[in-house]
Amino acid sequence: MKILAFLIFGMFIGIVNGQAFLVDEKTFTHAGNQLRYDALMEELRCLVCQNQSLADSGAGLAQDLRKKVVAMIENGNSDQEIKDYMVQRYGEFILYRPRLNYATVMLWFGPFVLLLVAIGVIMRIVQSSQSNHTSQKVSSKNKLYDDGEHS
């Protein structure tokens, strides 16, 4: 029992350590740069472990990319330049917020189109069931709904 408790405790220690090793970054001399760095880390995706941002990931490549971002910030590159650098090499996929372009139009507007279609369908269903009530006419088109009401 004691051993089990020790192991569980060890796991928590392990998690704490796991978080700690990610903070391998050196501190920036310019305070604003740290903020920019933190923001970029959340915007860029780790390509090895795809559901993690660069900030979360312990993968070797993520480490390299973090170093690259640090180097580029210190070199005076803008956020846009850093993102462009990454996209040129790893593709749009590296951005958690993909940019709006030909390939990502569906991604950005697809859900809204679907929402509009759904609203349209619901409106039509509501309208047709209302007109059934008033007209009492059983057209073959609406037969299914009428059957439902009478049963």
Binding site: L47, V48, G60, L61, D64, L65, Q88, R89, Y90
Partner: protein, 175 residues
Amino acid sequence: MRQLIPFSIFIILIIFFAIGLTKDPRLIPSPLVGEPLPVRQLDELRTAETTLLTSNLIGSSFILNVWASWCAACLEEHHLLMELATQDAIPIVGLNYKDTRQDALKWLYKNGDPYLQTWFDPTGEFGMELGVYGVPETFFVDRTGTIRHKHIGPLDRINIAKAIDILNAEQNSSL
């Protein structure tokens, strides 16, 4: 007619899901296909004092295989590269990625060396230029030094043949 609408929506969804399920989310299309191979100066792995420009092979198409001694999947495809090397069909260049010279040389000694040149990239810097995110990755470069195709993961006979076809097709169309 009306009853068919939900059914057809259902069928469309099923088709989308079916396509989605056959795709591997780990395969990210490379933006570098159609772009020139970046030109850098790299050490040759096997002869320490030799440096090579990555453009030194312009004029002939070649396969650029990214590998490392710590990469298990690289071993999986290695016999195919060895076989391809004996056929003399197309030069194979290795990019030794984030490795140590000692481990890499040992690995080549043990498993055979199919590479015409092996570029040494211990820091992974050139790998980053190429957008490498997991080894093995293989680039198919045409005579003009343009990347024509990228394969992620271990190669097999079928995708090697396909990629070489892509290279040949590009070459013929540009003649």
